[in-house]
Subunit: 144 residues, 2 copies
DNA sequence: TAAAATTAATTGTCAAAACAACAATTACAT
DNA sequence: ATGTAATTGTTGTTTTGACAATTAATTTTA
């Protein structure tokens, strides 16, 4: 009996991430931020990588190009993000947050941290180390 | 500096589960099973709980009622599942797999196990124990 | 240099997730 | 026993995900 025969951890990861996303959405809603979890994911990545291309955003967040296009469309419509034609490559857009977008980021960030802390309670640094090692291993196994 | 301040594990879980789902979908496609990952999730739960209600399916898989309704609709349309009116409660359906549905389950199961084993390689039983403990802890923290 | 291949982004379609509103049935409370 | 509340499932709408096809621009290579 190999550990990989045990009740599928796939279900456990799947249901856990769903609950986290759900809790995160509730918290964002309570703060009246009017963004979805996926919109927040892009906002966070754009904030930390101003001028990133949609393609790179997609690779970092594991979203395909059409999905990124549509979420950025929504962010632009909400006035949170803007596309600027790339100087070096006219196929690309450099994506930025607007001032409003940065404000939303700064409001959302502590909320996200709070949910993260709450969900991690009872767990310690060693757990974190092992947890990320396992997830990284699975990620590598599955993508190579 | 608390471990929960580190780069969000939320992203890591999120991207990893996406890669697993993607790999699983590829494997199911290669075997020409003509089902999606979420359809497989329901097939698996129905197989192991014949006559389960849609509501219970939703709780087990963390899908809301409309989502379950629609996936079951698709499974019924494909001839893999059937609804039977509950004897005791006329609001409920008892959901079953058809013979074809069971065949699909038996074809899909080894494929799923193979992907699971591949993604778990390099990891051991203790990893599994810790991994499930952490996921269970997060799940409890977030839902209480 | 010209043709071919690759890349970045968009559009269309269907599956799935979240939410709200709703219908039908059952359970509860007085 | 009647009216209220709760439960089960469906339908409609918007967002996200996967896939295919398309456009425009850039890179490769012949």
């Amino acid at each position: 009996m190999n550990s990989s025969d045990q009740k599928a951890y796939f279900f456990k990861i799947d249901t856990t991430i769903k609950k986290i996303r759900y809790a995160l959405q509730k918290a964002l809603d309570e703060a009246n931020l009017d963004i979805t979890v996926d919109q927040w994911v892009l906002i966070d990545h754009i904030f930390r990588n101003p001028g990133i291309s949609q393609n790179d955003l997609g690779e970092m967040t594991v979203k395909d190009n059409p999905t990124v296009t549509r979420i950025i469309d929504l962010l632009v419509k909400k006035g949170l993000s803007e596309r600027k034609m790339s100087e070096s490559d006219r196929r690309r857009f450099d994506v930025f947050l607007t001032e409003t977008g940065k404000e939303v980021y700064h409001k959302a960030h502590p909320i996200v941290v709070h949910v993260r802390r709450k969900s991690w309670s009872g767990l310690n640094d060693e757990d974190y180390f092992i947890f990320t090692r396992i997830l990284d291993t699975i990620y590598k196994n599955i993508t190579t």
